[in-house]
């Protein structure tokens, strides 16, 4: 097979994945790009009523305050989520890599939320925020906790914060194990040397641990960025996009992240073409993030 030709086995082994790739990714991708320039909807599905309308869908996005608002809160949510998850996960990793008695139990406990689907996690937390916390407030004599207007999910800004909280709970254990794996590869001699030199814990962290696990940071930062940007499940089950806010003079969903905005535009508003154009924008943002990631990795390889 070292000769520059393709033996039958090449096509035989590739055929199934090429078929799946074409049917599920390539063809829908091309169709989608095309549809975003048409008046595509459930009623104008195909045939004679489907026609090209140029950039009208993209112009429509710019004029739609609900998309602008979704875009802004998605960026805010993504950045917050990324920072909080990484800080918490790193803290947890530092904790469970010490010689604690129950460290394996703690690791497992922190990891478990990650195994359960976002849709289920969101419902659990909806109950916690709307029922358990008010009840705890009453028990502690804090009447204001039980006031419906004060619930975290009752205001759009605190509801977004609640989503960051749930997102952190969901991903922290996963990101923690990536840090743990990185921390455990640091040679023990380095740590001992720092110890003998009388380095404080803080100095040891800055001079030894952080530089040694730099690669893990690139992985976790991009992983959490992309996953937060695509968040959909927790959004659906925790807030369902609500409560509403007034933005640019119109009442719109206050916690509708981009993925949900695309879904609602396409299926609930029966504007598949508009939803598709939004998805193209969503895709382009992810492409830019990936290009940045690849170039950072390339630079690192050169340094090494």
């Amino acid at each position: 097979m070292r000769k520059a030709q393709h033996r039958p086995i090449f096509w035989l082994f590739l055929a199934p994945v090429l078929l799946a790739f074409a049917l599920v990714i390539v063809i829908p991708f091309i169709l989608g790009a095309y549809y975003s320039f048409t008046n595509w909807s459930a009623t104008a599905r195909a045939g004679d009523t489907l026609r090209l309308i140029g950039l009208a869908n993209y112009a429509g996005i710019l004029k739609d305050p609900s998309f602008t608002f979704s875009f802004i809160i998605t960026v805010v949510y993504t950045v917050f989520n990324m920072v909080v998850i990484n800080v918490v996960s790193f803290g947890l990793a530092m904790l469970v890599t010490r010689k604690l008695k129950g460290r394996n139990v703690y690791r497992a406990g922190f990891f478990i939320p990650n195994l359960i689907g976002g849709i289920i996690l969101g419902y659990i937390w909806q109950f916690v925020f709307n029922n358990a916390i008010p009840s705890a407030g009453l028990a502690l004599g804090l009447q204001s906790w039980a006031n419906p207007a004060n619930l975290l999910l009752a205001q759009s800004d605190t509801a977004l914060l609640a989503m960051v909280l749930v997102g952190t709970w969901q991903y922290a254990g996963y990101v923690m194990v990536i840090y743990v794996a990185a921390i455990e590869t640091i040679p023990q001699e380095l740590i001992e040397a720092a110890h003998i030199d009388g380095a404080s814990a803080w100095r040891q962290l800055r001079a030894v641990t952080l530089p040694m696990i730099r690669q893990a940071f690139t992985v976790t930062i991009f992983l959490t960025l992309v996953n937060s940007f695509k968040q959909f499940d927790v959004n659906v089950s925790l807030t369902a996009g609500g409560p509403s806010v007034i933005f640019a003079g119109r009442p719109i969903y206050g916690t509708q992240l981009l993925a949900m905005n695309i879904y609602n535009q396409g299926l609930k508003s029966d504007d598949m073409a508009g939803g598709q154009a939004r998805a193209v924008v969503f895709f382009l943002v992810l492409v830019i993030v990936s290009i940045i990631q690849v170039s950072i990795n390339k630079r690192r390889e050169v340094e090494l």
Binding site: N114, I178, Y263, M272
Partner: protein, 286 residues
């Protein structure tokens, strides 16, 4: 010295225990409230239930609920996850093998295309995928919407890029001499792969299984679109959201449904904890 050391670890140990309890607190809430009546749950969601015997009763309600159809949803989830995983592992590993061992421009081009496709989010293909699957049905009569075939095909399509990438990286490090010796012995290419290479790939198979297994089992959006609501074929996440939508604020039953959805995952995790964590880490770093 030793005592001094253990003393220094007491505070971190206490912090870890507190955080551990805090992390598991939501699950605790689920368990205690699955054993309550609607009245009890609104009055005191934080206390222990007066009668734990309510758990089996609530579970029975969920088991027989037409919105959940627990046994059939569970079975569908198993069928979809297992068949997608088996096919993903076989098809991606054999594809990765020929891509590594064939050094042509076309081969490299195909591999790079697969890798680049990992950026593609589900959102950009989801609407056209639906109309395209519908189109395939009118053209050929092959039903891909609301069917096992369609959803498994979709999972292969969306899972293959990363899986091939993981296998590819590992196969590159397998010495060619191994295969050359077998060729001299008269083995045919397919035999070489399945007899010699496939077993060596075990650690990557584990990673691919874990990564895709967690994703497919818990996935919500893809089954929602491909299988649809109110279909005979329903996955566990669809069933739970279906129930929560139909029984708004009936938290005693919603939480019981959630508990029943979590039990299989937690059992699985306790059994295969090591490989799960290892697989997740390996998959993320590459």
């Amino acid at each position: 010295m030793k005592e001094h050391r253990s003393l220094r670890l007491i505070i971190p140990e206490i912090v870890a225990v507190i955080l551990f309890l805090l992390f598991l607190f939501p699950f605790f809430i689920v368990v205690i409230n699955s054993a309550k009546t609607p009245f009890e749950i609104t009055q005191s969601p934080l206390t222990f239930p007066s009668d734990w015997g309510k758990i089996p009763a609530n579970m029975y309600t969920i088991w027989t609920s037409v919105n959940v159809q627990y046994s059939s949803s569970f079975l569908s989830s198993v069928i979809i996850t297992v068949s997608s995983l088996v096919l993903l592992n076989i098809l991606s590993s054999q594809a990765a093998w020929v891509l590594v061992r064939t050094k042509t421009r076309l081969s490299t081009g195909i591999f790079i295309t697969f890798v680049a496709a990992m950026v593609i989010p589900f959102q950009i293909v989801m609407f056209p995928l639906l109309s395209w699957f519908r189109e395939i049905y009118t053209l050929t009569g092959v039903r891909l919407l609301r069917s096992y075939l369609g959803i498994v095909l979709a999972y292969i399509g969306f899972g293959m890029s990363q899986s091939i990438f993981l296998f590819h990286g590992f196969i590159k490090s397998i010495p060619l001499e191994l295969e050359e010796a077998a060729t001299i012995d008269g083995c045919r290419p397919a035999q070489i792969f399945y007899r010699i290479i496939f077993p060596i790939l075990r650690p990557i198979h584990a990673t691919v299984l874990v990564l895709n297994g967690i994703w497919i089992w818990n996935d919500y959006l893809l089954p929602l679109l491909v299988l649809g609501k109110g279909n005979k074929v329903m996955t566990i996440p669809l069933a739970v959201s279906n129930f929560a939508g139909a029984y708004v604020k009936q938290w005693d039953l919603i939480l019981t449904a959630i508990l029943m959805a979590m039990i299989p995952i937690v059992i699985f995790f306790l059994v295969a904890q090591r490989s799960i964590i290892k697989g997740m880490v390996a998959g993320s770093i590459k």
